[in-house]
Chain length 345, copies 4
């Protein structure tokens, strides 16, 4: 594919939130992509740089309203949907079948009808959900490359699955006791002000929320099960007083002690994955912020393992991985437009 | 007054915001005060410690609704009003005349009808406003002691006036060019979530707002004028990414050079003011947070002076000073219940 | 004991660090205590308020040098030692036997000679260590009341043990799989600047450290074992980008499912403990900062329990608990001088 | 110049600090540059990605020692010196005359021998300093393009001069009273831990420092004087509790009132400057962090003007501007390799 002459024409539905903000930051400078339109009903007609002031004078794109006719998608190759849970359920089925779709919400991630109802409080999409491939890039490149519809993973799910996938594939999660203690920054709650993201409260806080009930549990369990034996886990979410980042501490107790070179297992599993870096000691959200990297460290003592993973919740945990999937779907190198470099400090 | 037997009976109108929160933190442990009731319509019936979780299990007080009858103020000695601008204008005139009133809003601070309309967009209270004494404690103890109604100063105004009052009283502001560059923490915007206090935005931000138009300008000018010659100033407000604190940098250029021992002028002016500390170098909001102190440093070079002041916007800049005024009005030592100690770090 | 006439005479050895800073903040206003001297060799002769600027003008106390003669402890009732690990090992044995000692370091917490060497890299104190009582107040009031020497618990240990003690006492830890994911603020690393507390690095970071090897492990295991059956745990420490606070997420998987009212178990266990508050949902470090409270929430799902606890690492996790122990040792109400109120926000 | 075949060969002297860190982040991905070596004596031999973990696996470059022989600069086109003040004074004179030099320190910025001694406490470089061009790109493109030696501006100086240059060039600073209230993030103090950047202290602090004495004063005055009439200013520096960013509030009082369209004056002045954006209301350090932008807003009321400017101290305030100057010196578009995009949030 000659990206200089034939760019992928994309539309972004939902460009005013943080998912849309990051899609814009990445796609505006992606050498193989042209953004045809980006919607934000409440900002329709306004320049993108007025709303996302980091993009001021970097694009002449303006927000448009949600298309009211299917014909507005003529010529569009791919659509990103970056809306709160529940909206893509209605929008996706109406999109032209020739348009590839990457949905950043949880609407199409869950196979189990009952689990979806329980965790999301929504009615499952039914058969149409089967058309969606779960877009955890590193574990699923072949199916993603051939997919027409992608259910992009959740931020906690991405950090957790990348941390545990090598163990799952090696059959080491079967019969193991797993505890995942996951922490997120405030941007994970979205761009809309709320009590839990009010600066005076959040700045000096750390707390747990939704004990045992976070909606990313079913997608983690579903995907890890597909990779190897898996018998459930305890998953707990916490709020950190930073803007960006997910840090997952994953504790695995094997039913028996084994001889294994853990770091080597991980290095080997991610040998061809540019965006996963196996580090010593501990990853740090500081070193992955604003990037598509997932940094992982692993330690063992007897039959107890701990795996730490760190991502930027808005990049590898959302929009970056969405673009990584777009690249695969259109035959580009998966790192195209995504070699975002973090900074020190 | 024997505080052990005859406590001051107070009511707090508006107990759910940060002003109310700090009044409760202070007054619940004030040896000379009994809180008879505290209102918060949206939380009526709920224990105070459920809303202000710092007070959990420290009080059995519950929020009540706004009184609908004057008789509910029977036996009340003093009322604090801690509501957004505009509400006290309606409430204060209806309170029994025997009840002392301390209003934390800007409703009764401004003498000039036109200035009040311009900066607050509200109709001036008229004659009743004349009953209110401006409650900047350190400059006005005698009138406060005898007052029946107090207009408690704004947070920016407190930091600025305390920084400039010794110069005003010494006649050094007359003909001087004054620039005040003031900065506030996020709690100054109140307890209600809003775009400018959304944690992901505010955490790494610093910006100016309301250039030339902040509503504390008229009260600063009015009060400094009453202390000595004063010919206006440039006053600018900025937002800091911290929860608490006001830092004011006050630049004064005299029309001529004079010989003066500035630190000595300040030490002398505040010799009997427990809550004003003259420091070397610079004050730091870190050293006054959670306390009623105002730390001040002053430097000169030729005819250029700079005065730095730091307060906690919710304590000396609001509720702490309100209680300091209450103490004076009821003949108590002004530090009673207010010897809150800051911490390191 | 008549505190107004017979105050406890205390000395603080090591007053320049954060432990010493918080001891001073508390003890200077403790109605039953008189600080006779506080040492800080590098600041000897300087006013306390020059070093801990929160205390400026609140005390006339100056730092002194470390006593060189035992006679300098004449008249002293109690000594707090707030020095880095290893120093109290040398100092404590030389103190007059009539003086009560509360050591805030780890020097005398560990009974096991080998474990002490392994985790601290120091030579165990030997028999003299047996004179020290482990000062986790809520679990050990009777022995603390009669103690002459206290090994004050570590911050992580305090949060973890208070979270798990009711389960230990109920026999529910026996045979259970336990994972503790603990997080600390930056003040836990002390007052001395270092790479891991350099503001540009720490502000946006979250990372794990010392996997499986934190020095608080042996004291937690030793003390929980003394309360009930206990078969080890996985304990992991992390760094949060806040100044104060410990948050511990404690995961307990029982060997079998049982019927139990968990919140009731906890409420009952801490019924007479003023400083432990059982809360709904999750505790938050924001609500305990600057106070001696430990807030705890507990949730269960089948045979999986999770207990969250939050403390201020410098207060309940260090100096506050030390004073709480002092109170018990001298027959005072344990809350004397410790009813520090947190703030909102 | 064909950048694909003939890259500029650069060396970085001092690659372990934040200036060096940002030079590496930019230059490693600059299409027209090849980094031949980067020195850091204390890390010699270590991979760059081990020290700046944001660059892990993004480069195979290792740190080298400071060259001991001039021949090691054979083939080098340009050298960046990113060392603390005082070092370039010794290094620059020894570099081969054919090598272009960009020094990020203050060593060669000041023409006045006495001012240099007063503000830096160092001996002036003498005649060799005259070879250095002050590298404030937007005001000095022609001389920079032809320069062999660049004294790259300080961070405060960049923010202040860009804010005031249009007024200076329009002759509006002559006779005006100027106050600059400038604020910086903690990375401005460098990568070495110190008391003023200790996380527990800095996180909740705001304070002023070096009143009237900051070393950027002479370079600001010298450069503004060269642009137009200028009669001195009051310049004050403050510390903000963020990692990155400079915010300058510049107050100008003209000797008389004039009719002028201020925003238009600024838009026109920076019409051809990609990296200066004139914004409404106020700039915010949040919108320029990690980028080479300087955002400016200007307001007037009568004869009082205020200009707000915001930059990232490490990019436009140091390494980004250094690369911008390199681009000009080698005939490249000044934005080459510098279109770093900020993020929201």
């Amino acid at each position: 594919m000659d990206t200089s002459t034939t760019k992928i024409k994309v539309a972004i539905i939902g460009g005013s939130g943080y998912g849309g903000s990051e899609l814009l930051r990445i796609l505006l400078f992606h050498p193989g992509v042209e953004i045809v339109f980006v919607t934000a009903n409440e900002h329709a007609g306004r320049p993108v740089g007025d709303v996302h002031r980091n993009l001021l004078e970097l694009t002449e794109l303006c927000f448009s309203s949600m298309p009211t006719s299917v014909s507005e998608f003529d010529g569009i190759d791919a659509v990103f949907i970056a809306l709160p849970h529940g909206h893509a359920l209605e929008i996706a089925p109406r999109l032209p079948s020739g348009v590839k779709v990457i949905d950043l919400s949880g609407d199409f991630r869950i196979n189990d009808v009952e689990a979806f109802r329980e965790y999301y409080g929504l009615v499952h999409a039914g058969d149409i959900q089967k058309e969606f491939v779960y877009g955890l890039t590193e574990t699923s490149r072949p199916v993603i490359s051939n997919a027409r519809r992608i259910a992009n993973p959740g931020c906690f799910a991405t950090a957790t699955i990348l941390a545990l996938a090598p163990l799952a594939s090696a059959g080491l999660l079967s019969g193991s006791r797993i505890v995942v203690d996951a922490k997120t920054g405030s941007s994970g709650s979205g761009a809309k002000p709320a009590a839990n993201t009010h600066h005076p409260q959040r700045s000096n806080s750390f707390y747990a929320y939704k004990p045992f009930l976070h909606q990313h549990v079913p997608e983690i369990e579903q995907h890890l099960s597909s990779l190897g034996g898996f018998n459930g886990m305890t998953f707990m979410t916490h709020s950190m007083p930073v803007t960006r980042g997910i840090f997952a501490s994953c504790y695995v107790q094997l039913p028996y002690e084994i001889e294994i070179d853990l770091p080597e297992l991980y290095r080997s599993a991610y040998e061809h994955s540019f965006f996963v870096r196996i580090v010593e000691g501990s990853p740090d959200i500081n070193w992955v912020k604003n990037t598509n990297f997932c940094d992982i460290a692993v330690h063992g003592r007897g039959r107890d393992f701990v795996v730490f993973s760190a991502i930027d919740n808005l990049v590898k945990g959302a929009s970056g991985q969405a673009v990584q999937n777009l690249n695969l779907m259109f035959g580009l190198d998966e790192t195209t437009g995504l070699r975002l470099t973090g900074s020190n400090p």
